[in-house]
């Protein structure tokens, strides 16, 4: 079965590339443009993995992560956090709140694709 991926980021300019890339990798791709939309999509569509940006309108990536982890139905959802902040306090916070991995912007798409592949295989 094809794995599904949700890309949650408010920047259209990266959604274009990431969507293309993930489709090319052979995944089913959904997109969300803010935190609330991300939560809605996750609880409805149960994607296997979420590429989650931290700084988003309405709800931050941290909020989304916390809500997902609080819901037992979604406990298998993998979360890969994308952060432009790059502060180690943010990374510590993300890991504490239950993200499965993080990537600091900017990143190479190859690195990202590899990370996604690894996470899905391990699961």
């Amino acid at each position: 079965m094809r794995k599904t991926i949700l890309i949650a980021d408010d920047e259209k300019n990266i959604l274009i590339s990431l969507e293309f890339l993930m489709k090319r990798e052979g995944y089913l791709v959904m997109v969300a443009h803010d935190g609330q939309e991300a939560i809605d999509v996750i609880s409805k569509e149960h994607p296997d993995l979420v590429l989650l940006d931290v700084m988003m309108p309405k709800k931050t990536g941290f909020d989304v992560c916390q809500e997902v982890r609080a819901n037992p139905d979604l406990k298998d959802t993998l979360i890969l956090m994308l952060t432009a902040k790059g502060r180690d306090t943010d990374i510590a916070k993300g890991l504490a709140l239950g993200v499965n991995g993080y990537i600091i912007k900017p990143f190479s798409t190859r690195e990202l694709a590899q990370k996604v592949r690894d996470m899905l295989e391990q699961a």
Partner: protein, 723 residues
């Protein structure tokens, strides 16, 4: 009105009775020598003219009364006045020639007293010359201190442990002028003045917290036990404050130095802060914004490399690249127009041992009673950079939140280290293992005991450049709030005694400034000589405040510790919003155009109220001035409920025999020159000097406390006047 003299009345009555008895005795004697015919003849002669006899008796009594009155004035009142005047000369150092009056003996006595006063003056002057010479060196030292203080670029305020201001420099004065609110009326003197409370300037809790920190460090023998914090004032200015203890001079004992007061060094960093915030903003947009932009570009580039890309996809990716490069260019331009000198932490973080912080957290939480906090595991090697006041408030708030939301009344505090950060946890065991409970409080304003702070938890965390979250431990059953806080280098502890023994203490600390003065006595028991006073006077459009007469000028001056503070004055014209009667202008000298554009009474009274603060109000004929203030209570909402003393009444207490207790007459009695009589400030100054003399004279009569003075004043005739 001349007072009725009982002595004259009693004298006349006694003489009248004696005359009557004498006449009766004579009559009875004559009556007994007469025979029947003689008696009839006498009765017939005197019977019809008995009224005449009584009238003559009464007239003679009147004559006796007048004579007695003159005699009393001549032989008794004149000496009594002389005695009162002499008492003034004895009790104060007034130089004045007494006017001879009354009998020859009284006159010569007056002359003698004048000569004695002259002699005393000569002696005193000689003495003064000697003292002055001796004081010269001390004065030099004081001047050196004054020069040093005024040269300092930081503002300095010295307080005793009660928070009373004992010393401040010019810089501080200017700084607090800027803080004064509203700036139109006041000049900052209502905030900063000798004897005023520092808590009018700074939040009492904040200072108490800083003092506690210093005390704690003193006990721990830290080398430089100072504390610092940043605070906002009511007018929105940002101050960075450094607090250092003033310690008692030690006499070769090893016990830890006792704190007797503290020095506050303050710096207004409002402008600096604004500049820094802007720099922060630029830097943040640069780093975080650029990361995102570069990520967008890199992803687009990576995708562009795929050979089988469709034309429209290629076009949109190129557009992404163009947009992002342009955005980056703009950001660089923005950076160039702002000078960025480096990343500085604008909030004043201070180094604190982690264990101390944990202890403070526990004490703060336990002080609030609902929740009990205990220490769990604490790494004592950790030193943190914290702004402890706000951090403690935040944690205390969280403990209350746990109590309210989870109904748990036991929390544990934990401190560990994770990579480059200290990790402070507030943990608890949720009831019934409710794992699903979630607490979102980052954006909560910190509320403590009904008091709402303008800060949120997130603000506090950002000040520390740290992180904060709520989590359930995966192993174990605990829930926790976690703070990541910046680490500091461990401070070295040094033996304090080594430093104290060095001769580094400046010698100007020998003024007797630091004797704590706050007595646990009620105001009634306070000594008049130790209280702080605001002596004031108002000029008005007329004498009927209740019927539309308005205040047009308020003047006031302060007395602290028995000293008139010439610099700390309040002098304000008021626009009465009505005409000033022409008849009143010669009295106060205020022309209608002078009050134009001046603040109205609703602006002036709040400022004056702040100037008065917690001092005792003093005025001459205070009933009138207080009435003027009282009729404005409903309009301005400012209530002057301070205790009041009236120099007119007190003068009547001290000198019951003087005919006039007008300000001019009293001033003449004390030989006070009034500068600017009938200006509010001039009269207030004169009243203040009169009041200082009165305190001395009351003391000699055994009237020493506020309660005694008020009781004595109430018993005088003048206390019954009403406005």
């Amino acid at each position: 009105m001349r007072r009725f003299d009982w002595r004259v009345a009693i004298g006349v009555a006694i003489i009248g009775i004696i005359c009557l008895l004498w006449l009766l005795a004579t009559g009875i004697l004559i009556w007994s020598t007469l025979d029947g015919a003689g008696r009839d003849a006498v009765a017939a002669t005197l019977g019809p003219s008995i009224e005449l006899l009584i009238l003559m008796w009464a007239i003679s009594l009147g004559a006796v009364g007048i004579a007695l009155r003159w005699l009393v004035a001549y032989f008794m009142t004149a000496p009594a006045r002389l005695a009162e005047d002499a008492q003034v000369l004895l009790g104060t150092d007034v130089k004045r020639q007494l006017q001879p009056s009354g009998s020859i003996e009284n006159r010569s006595l007056t002359e003698l007293i004048n000569q004695l006063v002259q002699q005393r003056e000569t002696l005193r002057e000689e003495m003064d010359a000697l003292v002055q010479e001796a004081a010269h060196n001390t004065e030099l030292e004081k001047n050196r201190l004054a020069a040093l203080m005024s040269e300092l670029s930081k503002s300095v305020v010295v307080c005793n442990l009660d928070g009373r201001i004992l010393l401040y420099n010019n810089r501080a004065r200017r700084q607090f002028q800027r803080l004064s609110h509203p700036p139109k009326v006041t000049t900052g003197v209502e905030l900063l003045g000798l004897g005023r409370s520092i808590y009018g300037l700074f939040d009492r809790k904040l200072l108490t917290h800083a003092l506690d920190n210093i005390q704690h460090r003193l006990q721990g023998n830290v080398t430089s036990p100072s504390a610092q914090f940043v605070t906002t004032t009511q007018s929105g200015q940002l101050l960075r404050v450094q607090m250092a203890p003033v310690r008692a001079v030690q006499h070769e004992t090893k016990e830890s130095a006792q704190m007797t007061g503290f020095v506050l060094l303050t710096e207004n960093i409002t402008d600096e802060f604004e500049a820094l915030s802007q720099q922060d903003h630029v830097l943040n947009t640069l780093t975080e914004g650029s990361r995102a932009a570069i990520a967008n570009m890199q992803a687009a580039l990576d995708v562009l490399e795929y050979p089988d890309l469709q034309a429209d996809m290629q076009a949109s990716l190129l557009r992404v690249l163009r947009e992002e490069t342009q955005g980056l260019g703009e950001r660089i331009h923005e950076l160039k127009s702002t000078t960025v000198n480096g990343f500085m932490s604008h909030w004043s973080l201070e180094d604190m041992q982690g264990a101390d912080l944990v202890e403070a957290v526990i004490n703060r939480i336990n002080a609030r009673e609902e929740v009990t906090a205990t220490k769990s595991s604490v790494d004592t090697s950790i030193w943190l950079k914290v702004e402890s006041f706000t951090l403690l408030e935040a944690i205390t708030y969280l403990a209350e939140l746990i109590y309210q939301q989870c109904h748990v009344n036991m929390v544990q505090v934990r401190l560990g280290i994770i990579e480059n950060h200290g990790q402070l946890d507030l943990c608890w065991t949720p009831k019934n293992n409710e794992k699903d409970i979630r607490l979102h409080c980052e954006k909560d304003s910190i509320r403590l005991g009904g008091e709402m702070s303008s800060l949120t938890i997130q603000d506090v965390v950002e000040r520390h450049d740290g992180a904060f979250w709520f989590e359930h431990e995966t192993d174990g059953h605990q829930a926790l709030f976690r703070f990541l806080l910046p680490l500091a280098k461990p401070q070295e502890y040094q033996q304090l005694s080594a430093l104290v023994n060095e001769k580094s203490r400046p010698e100007f600390y020998d003024f007797d400034l630091f004797q704590a003065s706050e007595h646990a006595r009620s105001l009634e028991d306070c000594k008049l000589s130790e209280l702080s006073y605001t002596v004031f006077d108002t000029e008005t459009t007329g004498l009927n405040p209740a019927d539309g007469d308005e205040i047009i000028q308020v003047g006031a001056i302060r007395i602290v510790n028995g000293k008139l503070l010439q610099q700390e004055r309040f002098d304000q014209l008021v626009d009465p919003k009505r005409t000033i009667p022409a008849a009143s202008i010669p009295i106060h000298g205020i022309q209608p155009e002078m009050v134009q554009g001046q603040p109205v009474i609703a602006e002036v009274l709040p400022a004056f109220h702040a100037f008065v603060g917690d001092t005792v109000l003093v005025a001459h004929n205070a009933a009138f001035d207080m009435r003027c203030l009282q009729v404005k209570e409903t309009e301005t909402g400012v209530v002057f409920d301070q205790p009041v003393l009236d120099t007119l009444l007190l003068s009547a207490v001290v000198h019951p025999n003087q005919e006039s207790h007008g300000l001019d007459a009293i001033a003449e009695r004390f030989n006070i020159n009034i500068h600017g009589r009938h200006t509010a400030l001039g009269d207030a100054m004169a009243t203040a000097q009169v009041f200082l003399h009165l305190i001395h004279l009351l003391d000699e009569q055994g009237i020493q406390t506020m309660g005694q003075a008020r009781a004595a004043a109430q018993n005088t005739y003048y206390a019954r006047l009403k406005y």
